[in-house]
């Protein structure tokens, strides 16, 4: 079955979506990521969407779900690389991705994940917000 690869880098998981995702592929990614967060004890998930030419309400909902599920599993999600045209369209569509943290690029996203881990209290599992 077709799958989007998930890479592990220390305590983070990295996903770069490089294809125009059909809906089932998006659902598979959601399931795979939640499995991997638990199995790899990941503390953060970074999703690079710089290759995505559109984000519609289905993909938007998937991103929101991943952020919510990872939060429940004690991991942070950061979405990076959204194209400006995609951002404009998303907001007009009525979707502002509440609860999803975003950064302009992978470097800034990693910084955000690291600093939010550090804020969580000296290596201890943080209790959430």
């Amino acid at each position: 079955m077709e799958r989007i690869p998930i890479l592990k880098m220390n305590e983070f998981l990295l996903v770069s979506i490089q294809v125009d995702m059909h809906d089932r592929l998006a659902m598979t990614l959601q399931d795979d990521l939640t499995d991997r967060i638990v199995r790899d004890r990941a503390r953060g998930v970074l999703i690079d969407i710089s290759s995505l030419e559109i984000v519609d309400s289905f993909i938007g909902r998937m991103i929101g779900n991943i952020a919510a599920m990872s939060r429940v599993l004690d991991a942070e999600t950061v979405v990076v690389g959204m194209r400006p045209a995609v951002a404009i369209t998303l907001v007009e569509l009525g979707l502002s991705l509440p609860g999803v943290r975003t950064s302009l690029n992978v470097d800034k996203g990693m910084e955000l994940l690291r600093s939010s881990l550090a804020d969580g209290g000296n290596g201890q599992r943080h209790a959430g917000r």
Binding site: H22, I54, S57, F58, A85, I88, T89
Partner: protein, 132 residues
């Protein structure tokens, strides 16, 4: 490039094809990147509605002209159960499918013209147009 083309909308993969063909047409008509993104996103929402609520159907693409203005018209048609209350279906957040309820209302916001015809038991036809 033809001025009129109809594509099947029956599977999750068909939605991807509709997005790609609409993108090609929008580029060919000369829409800028933001306009392309808007109409492709609207098409994606309506194609998914055709499958989720209409049980599948078709998407028709037409290159249209109004005076000196070129436009792209998309018509999504299904023979599904239809929509009993169109005003309600157009409300943000209203859903019967477990989604976010932004498909129809969002597609309307992303288009210049929007028309919907539906009868319970007979199906639904949604037409959107975006002008350059």
């Amino acid at each position: 490039m033809p001025a009129d083309e109809t594509l099947p909308v029956r599977s999750s993969h068909d939605i991807v094809v509709v997005r790609q063909v609409v993108r090609t047409w929008a580029m060919d008509i000369g829409f800028n990147l933001v306009e392309q993104t808007k109409i492709v996103t609207a098409a994606s929402e309506l194609a998914r509605n055709t499958i989720d609520h209409g049980g599948g159907g078709s998407a028709r693409l037409q290159r249209v002209q109004n005076g000196g203005r070129a436009g792209l018209r998309l018509t999504f048609e299904d023979k599904g159960p239809g929509i009993a209350d169109i005003d309600l279906a157009l409300k943000d957040g209203y859903t019967t499918g477990g989604g976010l309820g932004l498909g129809l209302s969002g597609a309307r916001r992303l288009s210049n013209e929007f028309e919907i015809q539906s009868r319970p038991g007979e199906g639904t036809r949604v037409t959107i147009t975006r002008w350059k």
